[in-house]
């Protein structure tokens, strides 16, 4: 108890507002926001992504399987246990609670974007986004949360998947799906998910 108070006092005196933030996350916070809420267009939201997913992305940036001019050197600053510390920190930050739209709530969708999200387009072998990304895209396991993510970021990622500058997905599942999307669909999907708050 006494020790906790001392630590708290030290943290306050050092001027840190976010007591739980590990030192290695400070640099990340400058572009992703101190609580990982994202700063458009500097960095996407990290809050609400799973710790495993964040750690995996750091490693993909480090090995060049995911290419980004800014993130390549930034990811190198994280080594050893710091990767998990940072991943845990951002993954546990609050995100807005979304009331998920479940399959079957609607039988058909007049908006083709919603149809792609909730039912897919099987004639082109495109499954519904929510099958892997969870109801309303809230994320599950290694599949990142899309709900409330920045539209510009989602769009850039889908393009990166198409161009092969983003990889690391199991059996190229995401790359294959992204490759089938039109530019207009990418734009619309990015907009759609960004507005699920």
């Amino acid at each position: 108890m006494k020790r906790k108070l001392i630590i708290l006092a030290l943290l306050i005196s050092s001027g840190s507002t976010y007591a739980a933030m590990p030192p290695s996350a400070v640099l990340c916070g400058s572009c992703h926001g101190p609580q990982g809420q994202g700063v458009e267009p500097l960095g996407p939201r990290l809050a609400g992504l799973s710790s495993d997913y964040i750690a995996q992305q750091v490693k993909l940036f480090q090995t060049g399987k995911r290419q980004n001019v800014t993130m390549a050197p930034m990811a190198m600053t994280l080594q050893g246990p710091a990767i998990k510390e940072v991943a845990d920190y951002f993954s546990t930050q609050d995100v807005p609670v979304v009331t998920p739209h479940l399959r079957g709530e609607k039988v058909s969708y007049t908006d083709p974007t919603e149809q792609l999200v909730y039912q897919g387009d099987w004639e082109r072998m495109i499954p519904a986004c929510v099958t892997c990304h969870g109801p309303s895209g809230v994320g599950v396991g290694d599949f990142p949360r899309l709900a409330g993510q920045q539209a510009s970021y989602i769009k850039n990622q889908l393009i990166a998947w198409q161009q092969g500058t983003r990889g690391g997905d199991q059996d190229a599942v995401m790359g294959t799906i992204a490759g089938k999307l039109t530019a207009a669909e990418i734009e619309a999907l990015a907009q759609y998910f960004s507005t699920i708050k």
Binding site: L102, S108, I126, P127, C132, V140, D142, T176
Partner: protein, 350 residues
């Protein structure tokens, strides 16, 4: 007096056991190999389901099919949804489409010397694949699922012969029987285009048969396939992933998956399904051997008990498990499969 008591007891006992005898409603799917360049029946888009009472039943069927968990603890005893194995909500060819199944019933089954109607086949899905308790014959759930299946099939058949009017509504009784009947009402052009037998074997039915593996299938090799290609979606322990209460990435074995009586517990059926439909969205193609091996791995894990189990694994194995499967066998020195099986139709809370 005493004798009467005994004979009464015997009568009661024989009645009980008769009522408990579950027919084999999950007989092996009638699979055939996929043909190059084959075209398939294309059901109409769901947006064209008509307004009104009949259309409402069709829509309800779709909703039960993609969110079967709304029947949890009533008719469904695991975490699965019908749409987990019937891709694109039962619309996709070669993924056990409902439009093909509907016109294959009623069907005579040698095994129980009985003609099974479509609703009886659906009841089998609840008992085995959903590890639950089937809705009663004639119930609104079975009517809805039959209506959805019929609408998908008939809309496709009508479009094939250029009949563009709405799918004719049928009575509940008619819907429940299935479409493989001489007296089944349908537009004349549809009836003339194919024979009853042709409609019962529409291309794309069930899962396409693949050749036997080059080497005998092996759960051991299958584990490697699983780890390399399946576990990112189905989890390290095969239990899938849940989010917001939904397992859209479903459990493949264990207490929340299909039971030992479900068609998918057969290694061949699972291999056909996996080869054709996995990995999801078909990003890579597993080899024939990999599909068999991983099917063997998945189906050599413990799962809920075969509902026909009466206390004797060996006897049940003799009676119902003379096929490519692992029920009643010990794999890699583990306990005999079925001996530690999970309960049938458990409550979710348990």
């Amino acid at each position: 007096m005493k004798l009467t008591h005994i004979s009464l007891l015997l009568i009661v006992a024989s009645f009980t056991s008769k009522a408990e005898t579950l027919p084999d409603k999950q007989a092996e799917l009638d699979a055939s190999a996929k043909k190059e360049g084959q075209t398939y029946l294309q059901p109409r888009p769901l947006s064209t389901i008509p307004e009104g009472e009949f259309g409402d039943k069709v829509r309800r069927g779709y909703q039960l099919f993609v969110n079967s968990q709304q029947m949890r603890d009533k008719y469904v005893g695991n975490n699965l949804n019908c749409s987990n194995c019937h891709m694109d909500a039962g619309r996709k060819a070669n993924a056990a489409p409902l439009w093909a199944a509907y016109f294959a019933y009623p069907a005579y089954r040698k095994k129980n010397d009985k003609v099974n109607s479509y609703q009886e086949r659906l009841q089998g899905c609840f008992t085995y694949s959903m590890n639950g308790k089937p809705p009663a014959s004639g119930s609104e759930e079975l009517v809805a699922l039959s209506a959805y299946s019929y609408w998908l099939g008939m809309s496709g058949l009508m479009d094939q012969v250029g009949v563009s009017w709405p799918v004719p509504a049928l009575s509940d009784d008619e819907l429940l029987k299935g479409g493989k009947r001489d007296d089944f009402a349908m537009p004349a052009a549809v009836k003339a285009a194919m024979t009853l037998e042709q409609r019962a074997k529409l291309p794309g039915k069930a899962y396409p048969k693949i050749p036997e593996p080059e080497q005998a299938y092996s759960p051991e090799r299958g584990k490697e396939v699983y780890q390399a290609h399946c576990q990112s979606c189905h989890n390290v322990d095969g239990q899938g992933y849940e989010t917001a209460g939904v397992y859209s990435l479903p459990p493949l074995w264990g207490p929340q998956s299909f039971n030992w009586g479900a068609g998918m517990h057969r290694v061949n059926t699972a291999a056909y399904f996996i080869y054709e439909n996995m990995p999801f969205g078909k990003s890579i193609q597993l080899t024939n051997q990999q599909a068999w091996d991983v099917a063997a791995y998945i189906n050599s894990q413990e799962r809920p008990q075969d509902p026909r189990f009466k206390g004797d694994i060996t006897k049940l194995k003799q009676q119902y498990h003379q096929h490519q499967g692992y029920y009643g066998q010990s794999v890699a020195g583990q306990a005999v499969l079925g001996s530690k099986a999970y309960p049938n139709n458990p409550n979710k809370a348990q």
